[in-house]
Amino acid sequence: MIYENEIRPRVLIPKVSPAGAETDIGHASFPEPFHIGLQYSSPARGHWTIAHSPMLIPECHEIYVCYACCLHGVVLSADEVPDGAGRFSMVTLTNENILKGNLEEMMIDGISDIIDHLPERPRCVEGFTSCMQHFLHIDLKLVYGTLRKKYPDIDFIDGYMIPTLQHRFSPDVLGRRQLTRAIQKQPRKKAVNFVVNYFPVDPECELVTMLQAGGYTIHDFAACPTYDEYKAMGESIANIYFHENARPAALDMEKRLEQTPLYIPYAFCYDEIRAHLQEAADCLQLSMPDTDAYEARCEAALERLHDEVGNTHMSIDYTATPRPLNLARLLLTHGFNVYAVYLDTVLADDKDDFYFLQEHYPELQLRSTMHFKRSLLPRDDTRRYGKVLAIGQMAAYFTDSNYFVNIVENSGLYGYTGLLKLISLTSEAFKEEKDMRRIVQIKAWGCHG
């Protein structure tokens, strides 16, 4: 039983002004609205980490070769995933290895030892190295070359946990790219892949319907039931991706596997949804759905939602969707009272929306999630404004609202159908309270949810 006096002792909390951690969009700069110095980390943890994403490759075993400091987070994250502990091992790096310079030897020996003692032979092993090994120029070609020779039946992926050395890719971007590295070229079939999304794309969305009607087999990275299904992604002619962070993966697959990359990002405004579907139709010779009919349905659904929520304060965060400003634009232009968007940077896809909102809705607040003041600013919007309807876990936590749409990275919602479902989820969220405290603290929602 949790003792309230132990988790909430009487401590004086410094009072700070929101200046620097919040700004109205009218005065914000693109793409970095905030100066981020020392960084805060929110307890809303539903987004995925590099410990979780390799779990999407069936029969893949993760082996982290890092210091205890870095291992503590990933091993416990993996442990929280159902069956995660059995798919995760580690080799602990110490100062002894740094001094002796035997980084390669200890990694080869450590990974071999784990493989040899696993109850079942994995089809794939993703090894992870940390900043320190790369700072000391570990020879990974030697490491993985040796391991591939020693275990020819196992696909090895070189994974990276190198946040200090992210001059080219962020850990998430690099992580997504590496997740596709065990896919090899296969004889071509009329098939396409969805890469590298963490949630399966909604099979009811019009994109899936279009592809199926066009005779395509779909390999959805996030929904591969077996390792063979994962490997079958090598037979596809194109990689469809929805998130900017998956771009290096798609470009890498173009280079390695000669598969066409097709970027049709998540969007909420009709013109963009239509344009992306048209792009897919043109690229893959598909028939377009009746977009006018879809848009009419969306309009009607938005109107019904507006009748329900009225002038309720609404907030959105960047973990719910990579397009928080596009979503804010749709809702604001339909009369909803979106007053705050939680984000730290504005992604390129949201650039037009940023400037549109800056011009037409300059009072919309942008609020940083990691600025140091965020931990000290009161989470009292529900007391100030009454009910706050939040889209995303961070928006719910920071506004202290139990009325929230629990989605992470669009949760597979795509296109008009995705928008219709989001409207429906928003309506549900408005009517039914959720156990926000419990839900938002679960890491990698989707592994559990």
Binding site: E6, P9, H72, G110, Q166, F372
Partner: protein, 409 residues
């Protein structure tokens, strides 16, 4: 292979121990790292994070600053937070990367202190060693800065008691800290201060007025030795577990009996934190007990929980064939003379095979698939984080056997 861990976890590291120890004291605590450390700490090891705001931040170390040794950005960012948040002190430690390039935390602390005008502590940390020396150093350093001179000398029988070494890493938030405090106040003592859960900085500053220090985890041991040397305050190491154990602990506090449980004389040389920080380079892989079977094996990273539970099993259950295994090689040496240390998965597995019953964090049960029934779950927040918090017992006080009985021990 000594460093390969197929199923086990790792203990919270030094820099997390610092944050946990100082969490409630109004300071600015910085983990010098790129990212990840803060979310690891606050997600898994810090149960107060959701409810109790604190100025615990990551520095956002980047590659260029690492290579060029640029600390100025860090100092500027610290000054920005001090200006807005008005912390009463600054504490900084870090992860493996800054350690490897020889980051001088004490120098950074000096620069930060000069710039901001508030005390600043730099901790030699590397993200490799455990929370024991980390939290230990934090308590000690904080005390050296903020303890006020005592107004009276320690008396016997003792009445005023400090609790040293209270953090959620060892006690979680399930009532163990509250029970310890209640035991003090309900048995004729005055709780002078508790380091550092549910205590104000003002209360901690008066700690030197205590008659005795109750060291309830190894993280409080360094401070206890310091306060004995500086103020002549005796210390008692151990936890009250069970009726007899609680009575014995209370009596030891009254008497200021340093030999209680540990056999220490109080005249030992102060345990050196820096020595603790050099120890994990040597992995303990050797067999530690002979091959004969034993009745109970206790595995725990915190030595005083091991010693106290052994006494408790003897008192309450008449069990004497109990072996103690500490997987942390950097625990304070004076507390581990009756404890064996084994760090590698294989060495720990070997010891588990020999035991009929094992009381340990549930993660250790994975060492022997098919034999999980011989493991009794005793989650340790510093090891498995929040994962098994619901199963974490109230393990101190006269009724401590309740949780073991409920588990059918």
């Amino acid at each position: 292979m000594k460093q390969a861990q197929q199923v086990l976890s790792t203990y919270a590291v030094d820099v997390f121990g610092i944050a946990s120890a100082l969490y409630e004291l109004g300071g600015l605590i910085i983990m010098h790292d790129a990212s990840g450390c803060n979310s690891t700490y606050n997600t898994h090891d810090e149960p107060r994070w959701y409810d109790l705001p604190a100025m615990v931040y990551i520095s956002g170390l980047n590659e260029a600053d690492t290579i060029y040794g640029n600390d100025q950005r860090l100092i500027d960012n610290i000054a920005e937070v001090v200006d807005a948040g008005k912390p009463t002190f600054i504490a900084i430690g870090g992860s493996p990367m800054p350690n490897a390039i020889g980051t001088d935390y004490k120098a950074i602390a000096q620069m930060a202190s000069r710039r901001t005008g508030i005390p600043a502590f730099g901790f030699r940390t590397d993200g490799i060693h455990s929370y024991l020396p980390g939290a230990g150093a934090a308590f000690l350093t904080y005390a050296k800065e903020f303890l006020q001179a005592p107004q009276k000398k320690p008396q016997q029988p003792a009445r005023r008691v400090n609790l040293l070494g209270l953090t959620p890493l060892d006690f979680s938030v399930v009532g163990n800290a509250t029970t310890l405090k209640n035991l003090i106040t309900e048995n004729g003592f005055i709780l002078q201060s508790s380091w550092a859960m549910g205590e104000s900085p003002e209360g901690l500053a008066q700690a030197a007025n205590a008659d005795v220090n109750a060291v309830v985890s190894a993280t409080g041991f360094y401070l206890a030795q310091y306060m004995q040397e500086a103020y002549g305050i005796p210390y008692v190491c151990g936890l009250p577990m069970g009726k007899k154990g609680t009575a014995g602990w209370l009596q030891a506090l009254r008497d200021g009996d340093t030999s209680y449980l540990t056999g220490l004389t109080g005249k030992e040389k102060p345990a050196r934190l820096n020595r603790a920080l050099t120890k994990l380079d040597a992995w303990k892989v050797e067999q530690v007990y002979d091959d004969t079977p034993c009745d109970v094996l206790l595995i725990n990273g915190e030595p005083l929980q091991l010693l106290s539970m052994r006494q408790f099993l003897a008192d309450e259950y008449g069990l004497h064939d109990v072996r103690l295994l500490c997987p942390l090689a950097d625990a304070p040496e004076p507390l581990t003379t009756q404890i064996e240390t084994a760090c590698s998965e294989e060495a720990i597995r070997r010891e588990c095979r020999k035991a009929r019953r094992i009381i340990a964090d549930p993660i250790y049960a994975r060492l022997l698939p098919g034999e999980e029934k011989k493991f009794l779950s005793f989650p340790h927040e510093a090891y498995s984080g929040r994962h098994y918090r619901d199963d974490l017992p109230l393990f101190v006080g006269p009724d401590a056997r309740k949780w073991l009985d409920e588990k059918g021990f």
